[in-house]
Structures are given as structure tokens and as C-alpha cells.
Symmetry: C2
Subunit: 204 residues, 2 copies
Amino acid sequence: MSTRPEVSLAQRKRELVSNELTEAALQLLALKGFDGVTIDEIAAAAGVSKRTFFRYFASKEDVVVQFLAEMGAGIRTELAGRPAGEPPSVALRHSVSVSVAACAGHSDRALRVVQLILGTPALHARFLERQAHWRDELATELAHRLDLDRATDLYPQLAAGMALTAFDTVLQRWSGSDGAEDPAVLSDRAFAIIAPALDRAAQA
Amino acid sequence: MSTRPEVSLAQRKRELVSNELTEAALQLLALKGFDGVTIDEIAAAAGVSKRTFFRYFASKEDVVVQFLAEMGAGIRTELAGRPAGEPPSVALRHSVSVSVAACAGHSDRALRVVQLILGTPALHARFLERQAHWRDELATELAHRLDLDRATDLYPQLAAGMALTAFDTVLQRWSGSDGAEDPAVLSDRAFAIIAPALDRAAQA
DNA sequence: CGCGCCTTGACACCAAGTGCCATGCAGGGC
DNA sequence: GCCCTGCATGGCACTTGGTGTCAAGGCGCG
């Protein structure tokens, strides 16, 4: 077969169902709002049962939030790939910019998903919680990069938090302007503001 | 009667029930964990019905999170009260320090509540969402203080976000050390790191 | 062919919320 | 004193998110 033989049929089937589910969910949720759609509806639209839905996603929020989950890992791996000598502000700016650009460029669906998240308290809450995990991972990566001790030094945690604050602000502006404002420009402006703390404090 | 007559009896009754409810909730939740307690249990412990519980709190998370809600408003009013000439880093540091100190000094119950929140994903999510509101209000206050335009300038939003990141980090350390580390010291250390961005960018 | 593994659907079940209505209690006017 | 109005409550039914359990079906493998 032309499709990679090293991936088992069962796994490809799993992925197919998962895609069908997210597809149906995003479509319906964007159309009727988060509370206007039941899980049964989503499952039915994807041609599976409610029980199966929960075998793929832990909660209703999860379908939406997991759609953006790759971004978190993306930022971290991007950061890990930056040259070692680069100042934190530059490394972090690139890491965030690349990820947000990848998301924004993907399709205008990303925009609608972000707007849905930011406009739905329950989704926003879950999204922020996931961001908290990103922050932790970013902090670890930063500590490793700069050879700092996370247990005593507050810098890694704060720097990661600042970078994600910038990320958040960019997302908010971007979705608020209906995609009109350029995420890359917004990122640069945001990081220009927080950079003094990112770099000056690193060598303290 | 000695109790202020300008407050109607009905209102005092409402407050009494509300207190009873939070009391019962915090006690039970700290004891058996967030998922180990049902609303019926909490309501029964407070001597009311489940239906009445939801007339006082919007959700199970709300009881816990609202217990710390005053802090958000506290930070903002504290900021509003700082002298106009004060640099943002100092004003924000004081605003956050005072609020967190008020919380920490209140009782060791505050510590247990914070630990409960940070250790329970559902609660943490709600807490972060509430913080997002604080950030918005703080940003507005900052924009007003510095006579900036929130619609164009990214600084207010970012500065508020950085301050709350510091706040978050302090809370995390404080709860992680079981209250051993001094919140005031932690706040100072955190703000020392973010201050360069807070002050330098303000006059850009 | 027959044997296990994995996925699914169906069903029952619990807990979070919500709408609705009846009841009871306080205060205010007559 | 009596009624009437407003409000807080409780009980109840109902929807929905989410989970445990079990039986049935497809698929690979010897």
C-alpha cells in the first residue's frame, strides 16, 4: 500500500475517528456555541456513540483545546532548537512567533477556534490551565539552557510566564481584530516590551 | 440592637447562609479533596438544600475561588491608591504584596485553600480564568494611571500580565514550601526580576 | 478454523446544574 | 388583627457531562 506500512491499521483507524470527531466538534461548536451543542450531537455527527467520544477526549473542552495543544509542545521544541548563545528574549520571541504563525497561517479556522476559546469562559479556563503546563515545561527548558536551578531561582518560571503573557496578549489582539492585525508584528511589539526583564535579569 | 440597623435582616441572613456554606465547603473539600465531596454533602453540612447552594454559588468551583476573589479587587484598589508619580514596578509590587500578605496572614486556612486550588486542575483552571479578569482590570487601571490607550498600546496588558505572573509564581512557591517561605520576600525577588520591563517600557 | 485482542455500542449510573412550583415567613398597608 | 406582596427556601423533575460494565464484532495469528 502507499500508506506507510509501519503504522498499524488499527492506529490509522484511531486517528481517523479522532479527526472525524474534532472536525464535527469544531464545526458544530463554532456554529451553535459551546453550550448549544451536546456531546451526543457531536458523536452522532461523527458517526460514533457518546461513549466512544470519551474514549478519545477527556471532556467536551478537550476537543477544542487539544486542537491547539501542539502549540505548547511546539514552543518548547522550538526553544530547544535555538542556538545556545542567543539571549533569552530573542530565543523566546522566535519560539513564540513561529508557533503562533504556524497556527495563524494554517487556516482561518484557527482564528475561529481561538475566538471560540477566548469567548467561552469554560474553554478559556481550560486553555489557561494548559498554558500553565506549558509554562512549567518552558521554565524547565530555560533553566536547562541557562544552567539555572529552578528550585531556587525565580527567573525561569517568571521568564516563561512573561513569554506566555506576551503570547496571550498577541492571541487576544489577533482574535479581537478578527485576524486583521499581523501576529508576527504583534509578537515583536510585545517582546520588545518584556525583553528588558528577560535579558537583564538572566545574568543577575 | 447593636448590629447595624441599616442592613436589613434579610441581607444579614443571606450573608450568614453564605458564610455557613463556604465554611462547610472549605472544611470538607480540604479534608476529602475536590472530587471526593458532593454538593449535596456540602449543602447538608450547612443545613440547606442543594438547590439553595446554587442560589449562592454558580458552581462547585465557585465556593473555593470566590474565597480568594477579594484579592483581585484588592490589588486593583491598592494600585489605584498608590501615588501618581510612583514607577509602575513599585506601585504594582506594593499592590500585589499587600494583597498576598493580607491573604497569607489571615490564617493558615488560606494556605490550605491555595494548595487545594493549585492541586486540583478544575479549580486551578477556574482560578486562572478569574485572574484573567483581574489582568483586564489591572490593565485598565494602569492605562489610566499612565495615560495610555489600551486600544493601541500593548504595555498595560503586558504589565498587568507580568505582575500577575509574579503573583502566580509567589503563590506557587509559597504553597509549595507549605508556607515556609515568606511571601513578602518572594514578591520582592519576583518584582526585582520583572521590574526592568515594567519601568523601561513605560516611557517608550 | 478457532483463539485472543482491541474497539465499539448499549445500558445503567452518578453528580453537576437548571427550571418550576408550592410553601413559609417577614414586612407593609388597610 | 388581617390580608397581600415579596422573597428565600425546598422538593422535584429533567438535561447533560462523564464513568463503569458488559456483551458483541472485526481482525490478526497460529
